[in-house]
Symmetry: C2
Subunit: 150 residues, 2 copies
């Protein structure tokens, strides 16, 4: 783990990710390591932060393609500065706000529905919250759902 880059194992230890996950992220274009003479992956220290970003973005509900799109907005050719990361992070803010908004509206609707106990397709407001689509940002299937395997 000298000056010529970190091995995949080093990076896994630094980030807490599984080695297999890191390889998968490479396949998805989230990181782009070089290879040493023997064909093994070598990562720069900046990749630690890059993977940190990936993990945080995932917590916020972004998909890997979406995260990749964000990462692609980082300057190519030089190591991203704190300011670069901060700029990208503001994008999270809007997504979070939207998500909180939708959930809050849902809760309010639910409040007005608990009294009636209708849950009826024709009349219940829960079927017409207006912007259920706002929740789609989280994913098509596991829409806000618990993780698979729970």
């Amino acid at each position: 783990m000298a000056k010529d880059g970190l091995s995949i194992g080093d990076l896994a230890a630094r980030t807490g990710l599984a080695v297999s996950a890191i390889r998968y992220y490479e396949a998805q274009g989230l990181i782009d390591p070089w290879r040493n003479a023997g064909g093994q992956r070598r990562f720069s220290r900046a990749d630690i932060r890059r993977l940190s970003f990936v993990m945080i973005a995932q917590q916020f509900g972004f998909t890997l393609p979406q995260i990749r799109a964000e990462l692609d907005r980082l300057p190519k050719g030089r190591v991203p500065t704190k300011a670069d990361w901060a700029r990208i992070s503001t994008g999270f803010r809007a997504a979070l706000d939207a998500r909180i908004d939708t959930l809050t509206r849902m809760r309010d609707t639910l409040d007005s529905c608990i009294g009636c106990g209708c849950l009826s397709l024709e009349s219940c407001a829960l079927y017409n919250p207006g912007d259920r689509a706002g929740l789609k940002g989280v994913g098509p299937r596991y829409l806000m759902g618990d993780r698979p395997g729970a």
Copy 2:
């Protein structure tokens, strides 16, 4: 679609669900139709509301096993009343509150992080929000340190 129950196609039309989804829900124990002489499924009108509940609960991020657990709390042997449904719906309220809470805390943390642009594993507060567990349901993926195999 006479007095002897609705066919699966009728139920699909009433709920907007796909026929295949209804059969899947039966396999998951969410509904329990009887069969007619020819072996075809027959559903009661109460199943329309039952499936409505399933759909709403899914929007709220519950998994099918969780929804099944809620449904199992309905009185067995009689058609559930509005009061029964209302009682169950209050359970949603707590779950939604928790989810909104967690997201709000995340947003606040993010706000304090945007300025520093750190995203550093050792120091960034985003890695220590305190109750990431409450977020189960926000992301499509396993949470950090919560992988099935690890």
